[in-house]
Symmetry: C2
Subunit: 206 residues, 2 copies
């Protein structure tokens, strides 16, 4: 299974590396980071730089794409090279997916029209304006289009995709290998009062 | 708060980027990736390359260090430039930490002697041979030395450190910002029978 993950300036690192690590650990799965051209791409904090090892043209028919989110989302939505690549690859993919505000890039590429989709809780409702049906779930499957909620949710999505493609046993072995037995220090259902503060930390770019 | 994360060949990407994303989102926190020299460092899959933006010499007194794990652990334990840097920085750090088999690099640097520490479930018991007291917990505090279990556990450790240093409110806002409300597809307590299979996927290098 060949996975392509497009990188764009000001992506959020965990959106990319969460699903990357889960997928790349599975036998027979390979991930390639792509961009307009090969070379370094820097994240939303300006402190993490990942290398794109292929241009969009060099990866025309991946089996699966994962589009990350981040403060660079709006420029990414207007990056025709990126959205054209998504639209083209989507014709052939087994799965077309996003994490966080990456859903808006999928929408800009014409992939989300009429589909159920999710995104970060801070912006998921805005998907309506782009013709999608916003859903407040952690991972949303609509046909071959799969969207995950904010940042860390890409790990859950990746394990779900592994289970679909390679079977529960492989997904379970990967979950065990990466010791994904999370113990968040706080109960998210109690944090609603901090939404404004949280949105100051994560800039969706909207 | 200045965080330094050393990179070495064949590190596991999520060991690094999980805590990175959580810490770097917090106001006043900055993360620098360091290595023997500035430049690209490639992960355990050979498909993800992160840039080290400073040499060890350029970051002599970070407040916090996070040492990742991965199949490159044994060469890292024998990399005197790295272990000397850990030993030197440890004299000044507020927190000296590791994720996964990164605990063995801390041990090689002389940081873990007599301390309670954890690591990936596959190798945690081997810490005994290096003078530490192995503990099967997700995040273990022993004074200013903090060790996290396998791969994904660095996220939990980072949020715990944020809470200690910047207060619960900041850690909560970050947890909400990165939507860390994990929904692992499988219950880890049921996966014990897959340990051998999982260890084929994750090579601790031991």
């Amino acid at each position: 299974m060949h996975v392509a993950m497009p990188l764009y300036e000001k992506f959020t690192a965990l959106d990319v590396v969460g699903p990357y690590t889960a997928l790349a650990f599975a036998p027979g799965w390979k991930v390639t980071f792509v961009a307009g051209q090969r070379g370094p791409v820097t994240d939303d904090q300006g402190t993490l730089t990942l290398m794109a090892t292929a241009s969009y043209e060099e990866v025309p028919e991946p089996d699966l794409i994962v589009v990350p989110g981040g403060p660079g989302t709006v420029p990414a939505m207007n990056d025709k090279a990126l959205t054209d690549w998504i639209a083209r690859t989507h014709r052939h993919t087994r799965w077309t997916t996003s994490v966080c505000s990456g859903a808006f890039v999928l929408a800009a590429a014409g992939v989300l029209g009429g589909r159920r989709a999710t995104s970060h809780w801070g912006w998921v409702e805005h998907l309506k304006g782009l013709g999608a049906e916003p859903v407040n779930e952690r991972v949303v499957f609509d046909g071959k289009v799969v969207t995950a909620a904010g940042v860390s949710s890409g790990i859950d999505m990746a394990l779900a995709l592994l289970a679909m493609e390679s079977g529960d046993r492989t997904a379970q072995a990967v979950q065990l290998a990466i010791e994904y037995d999370p113990k968040p220090p706080f109960d998210m259902t109690t944090l609603g009062g901090l939404k404004e503060e949280a949105l100051k930390l994560i800039d969706g770019g909207f």
